[in-house]
Amino acid sequence: MAQAAKPSAEPGRRWGLVVDLDRCTGCQACVVACQAENNVPVAGEKQAGYGRWMHWIIIHRYWEGEYPNIKARFMPVMCQQCDEAPCEPVCPVFATYHNPEGLNAQIYNRCIGTRFCGNACPYKVRTYNWFRPEFPAPLTEQLNPDVTVRSRGIMEKCTFCIQRIRRAELDARAQGREVADGEIQPACVQTCPPEALIFGDLNDPESRVSQLARSRRSFRLLEELGTDPGVIYLKGGETNA
């Protein structure tokens, strides 16, 4: 299947996201930006009360210590876009698959809602539409036409805003040039007030994400599982030097 690469995708790229935990303030701007861009439904108070959420980014908060010497730390967690993704081999209908740009893509039309992928994901970043999402009119006017509205029974997750990647790639190709580093900005990266999120091509050694990934502060989530995530975290509380 891989040889019949879609003409719109650019093989040889590996999209990556760097999350600088020293800059992150836990402000939730990325969460709402993502919701607006990707037509993410609202779970509602009742479902939220059962501990459910539909957000594609969750900001974890960890406590360290006891009062008065207590610290709280934030960690935004979205789909880690693993190279060895545990969610992919378990899907019986190939709804979740690996695209030529290293993205862990979810094809909604194929999804039959077995939720095997959500079970297999060690990061718990896949959300499932247990109900038909509601957008009371005229809230529907806001829905982004570039992104499918998922219906009941569909698994969904962060796509690195693939619609924005495609748009930038097509624009660049129409102008006969390469996509510049930093030109593609997923909604979360675009809005992040302290600039804690940086997006780019990990296969380009000169890109900002590659440079930051080489920092001694960098680590990946649950690295020992061997999932080879495309999201790279930078440890907080210290400098790169």
Binding site: D22, Y62, P194
Partner: protein, 737 residues
């Protein structure tokens, strides 16, 4: 797509059409004529971006809005605007839901079943304006007209002031809870006293290497959170490899304190004491390198460090370390914040914090305190001041005494936002006619006779001078990004139409036919300035560029050093905090705080913001009471147990969140929920802590001392599962649920 067609029917239908097309004879070729010709600049599926201004809080960030086929799809920060540089917070991102909210008012309405009946009858705008003009015309005395405004756009405030002045009525009184919680009024007064200007100062976080924030939650809601977050990011991991050190002093560990390197918990109202103690140690022990401390000795002559440490419960050893850190820093800065301002000793406390910047000589230096240069935008800067709570109390007094016959409420929701003990809800009953201009039926609208809904900000014209400003003179422009969704009307246009209906002096003072012509004339003052980032040959060309780029700003940075007035050798005042309710009956301090998502409650109507987890508790869709684990143990309550919180002025019930980051004598409740109206997503959800707050003020600035109330807690024995992301299963405090 119609919901009626099933997939099976659709396939049948398309198969049928395909067959029909196949067997049909070759048709005469003819160009199809659409029923409606789309405008030439509209390309289906192609996005157009319009620049405007965010109005979710008073910061005034520049935005660009993605519009496809006349519908707004996404808001982003304006990358050119020097204040927020393309960045936006959660509330700014959620603005689209205010535009397309299902429960917005769709036209002007009159409440027919009596106030509070919520029976509304639609009115034509002409009728509504006639009605309002008649009400104003029939006033026995123009002094009996009162206007209460919220976060008014600059141009609306100017128009309204002109109108009221021409009528001979008192100027508009403004109050909004967001400004009160961030201590905007108190900060303006402090700037007047210490910097010789009512401009709010800019604290140069980006250039600072040590930041002492006294209750300023500058990464959440305080002043200009997006600009400050951007500067904070660069303070942490700046281009030059240094890493600034942030210390947060406040009773509750806010998200800003969570981002700090150290959180120093203290008793409410003692932030100023800590600042005094730090100053005293620096001056007495001649710490640091800022030169002689002799001129400052008099400031601290009455300060006893031991007493201050005891009152604030910050150990002397900690104070000494921090004083050393602050004095030794190259670019230290101290920020007097909101939690400090919400006390009856707010004024003296803020003065003590600002004095620290004086001691280390950081006025007008890198990483210190600056003012925003107004440049040629001076004329546009006649901004609405956040009025003190005392002036609102005066208004309530006049209303209660029957001295107000007509009340106009513009962009404010005083019934929800004022402490209920201030008596606004009772006072409004004494006013014969109340007109409200909000886009929703909120708590105040439900008590109005007539509602003339304004556009939401994405459908409106205007401009905003950021306050506090950017590193250069800047004004952001506001323009409609879509046509009004409903039959609403800009309040500025309503007032202009009103003036022409009234005739006489109002019509002379307000000669503009509409809001846009007024704006065009105002903006002309910026045309031709040599500072501007762009130029135009004609005023019309300038106005076009002003709308295109989203405002006007200087091309170069232009920081303004404050001309600091000589403070004299007066010792700094030492004023202990006062609290309403005695300590035996009411053992806890109430600490209401603005929610990152809902701010003071104006975000509660938007489902995206309701669903946004509070960063610290991960709670959503509700109100909760934060308690120190020790306090929870002594009361015998745990997570999700409902407690009754009782103050001398009111009570409410809410589930407990055992919160390890709070001073044991303090009970924190987020502001924003507890709406009885304001749309389906806001109403009948949670409780409003303003029902508990005592209507007392900081004697110096007259601003609301919202943190000066004591409360007691009573377990009810009932439970309510609060919606939280964090799982409470097991002993762990992991976030995933």
């Amino acid at each position: 797509m119609s919901k009626k067609i099933s997939r099976r029917q659709f396939i049948k239908f398309t198969a049928g059409t395909a067959t029909a097309a196949g067997v049909a004879p070759k048709l005469h070729r003819m160009l199809q004529e659409p029923f409606v010709h789309p405008p030439e600049d509209l390309l289906p599926g192609q996005a157009t971006w319009y620049a405007s201004t965010c109005r979710q809080c008073s910061a005034g960030c520049g935005i660009i809005v993605r519009v496809i086929n006349g519908r707004a799809k996404k808001i982003e920060g304006n990358p050119l605007y020097p204040l927020n540089r393309g960045k936006l917070c959660a509330r700014g991102q959620a603005g689209l839901q205010a535009l397309y909210h299902p429960d917005r008012l769709r036209n002007a309405v009159r409440q027919t079943g009596g106030r509070g009946s919520r029976q509304f009858e639609p009115l034509y705008w002409d009728e509504a304006l006639d009605l309002l003009a008649e009400k104003i015309g029939s006033l026995s005395d123009p002094g009996r007209l009162a206007v209460l405004g919220g976060l008014l756009p600059d141009h609306l405030y100017r128009l309204l002031s002109l109108l009221l002045d021409s009528l001979g009525s008192p100027p508009p009184v403004t109050f909004d809870l967001h400004s009160a919680l961030e201590g905007r009024g108190a900060a303006a007064r402090l700037a007047q006293l210490t910097l010789g200007s009512a401009e709010l100062p800019v604290y140069d976080l980006e250039g600072a290497d040590v930041v002492f924030s006294f209750g300023a939650n500058f990464l959440e809601t305080w002043m200009s959170p997006v600009a400050q977050s951007l500067a904070y990011g660069n303070m942490r991991q700046g281009p030059f490899g240094g890493r600034g050190f942030l210390v947060q002093f406040e009773p509750r560990l806010s998200a800003t304190a969570a981002s700090a390197d150290r959180w120093i918990p203290l008793r409410p109202g003692t932030e100023g004491f800590v600042a005094l103690a730090l100053g005293r140690i620096i001056v007495e022990e001649r710490l640091g390198h800022a030169g002689s401390h002799r001129p400052h000795a008099a400031l601290y002559q009455d300060v006893d460090v031991t007493e201050m440490a005891e009152a604030s419960q910050v150990p002397i050893e900690t104070l000494r370390q921090l004083a050393q850190l602050f004095a030794d820093a190259e670019h230290p800065v101290a920020i007097p914040g909101g939690s400090l301002a919400g006390q009856q000793n707010g004024g003296p406390g803020m003065l003590a914090v600002q004095a620290l910047n004086r001691v280390v000589a950081q006025f007008g230096r890198v990483g210190g305190v600056f003012l925003s240069s107004p440049g040629p935008s001076g004329a546009l800067r006649r901004t609405a001041k956040a009025d003190s709570f005392s002036s609102v109390q005066d208004l309530i007094g006049r209303m209660k005494a029957g001295e107000v016959d007509l009340l106009l409420v513009v962009g404010a929701n005083p019934v929800f936002e004022l402490p209920s003990a201030a008596g606004f809800a009772e006072a409004i009953e004494r006013v014969p006619y109340v007109v409200c201009f909000n886009s929703f039926v909120d708590e105040t609208g439900a008590r109005a006779d007539l509602i003339l809904p304004d556009h939401t900000y994405l459908e409106s014209w205007g401009y905003q001078v950021p306050h506090p400003g950017a590193d250069r003179p800047a004004v952001s422009s506001q323009q409609p990004v879509v046509r009004p969704v409903h039959d609403t009307r800009a309040s500025a246009d309503v007032f202009l139409a009103l003036a022409s209906r009234l005739g006489g002096r109002p019509a002379e003072v307000l000669p503009w036919p509409d809001e846009v012509s007024f704006l065009e004339e105002t903006v002309r003052e910026l045309h031709g300035s040599s500072l501007g980032a762009y130029t135009a040959d004609t005023p019309a060309g300038f106005f076009a560029l002003w709308r295109q780029y989203g405002g006007w700003w200087s091309e170069k940075e232009l920081p303004l050093e404050p001309e600091v007035p000589d403070p004299g050798a007066q010792p700094l005042p030492i004023v202990p905090p006062l609290f309403e309710g005695n300590q035996q009956t009411y053992p806890f301090h109430l600490y209401p705080y603005p929610s990152v998502a809902l701010s003071d409650g104006r975000g509660a109507a938007l489902p995206w913001l309701q669903e946004t987890p509070d960063p610290m508790t991960t709670a959503r869709w509700g109100t909760w009471v934060e308690l120190n684990p020790e306090a929870a143990r002594s009361l015998g309550v745990e997570d999700n147990d409902i407690v009754r919180v009782i103050s001398p002025y009111g009570e409410l019930e809410a589930p407990v969140v055992v919160f390890p980051g709070i001073q044991p004598e303090v009970v924190a409740i987020p502001v924003g929920q507890g709406h009885t109206d304001y749309g389906r997503f806001a109403q009948q959800r949670g409780s409003n802590p303003m029902d508990l707050v005592a209507p007392v003020v900081d004697s110096e600035s007259g601003s609301l001392a919202w943190g000066a109330t004591r409360v007691r807690l009573e377990p009810t024995g009932r439970k309510q599962a609060l919606a939280r992301l964090e799982s409470l299963d097991g002993a762990g405090r992991e976030t995933l649920g």
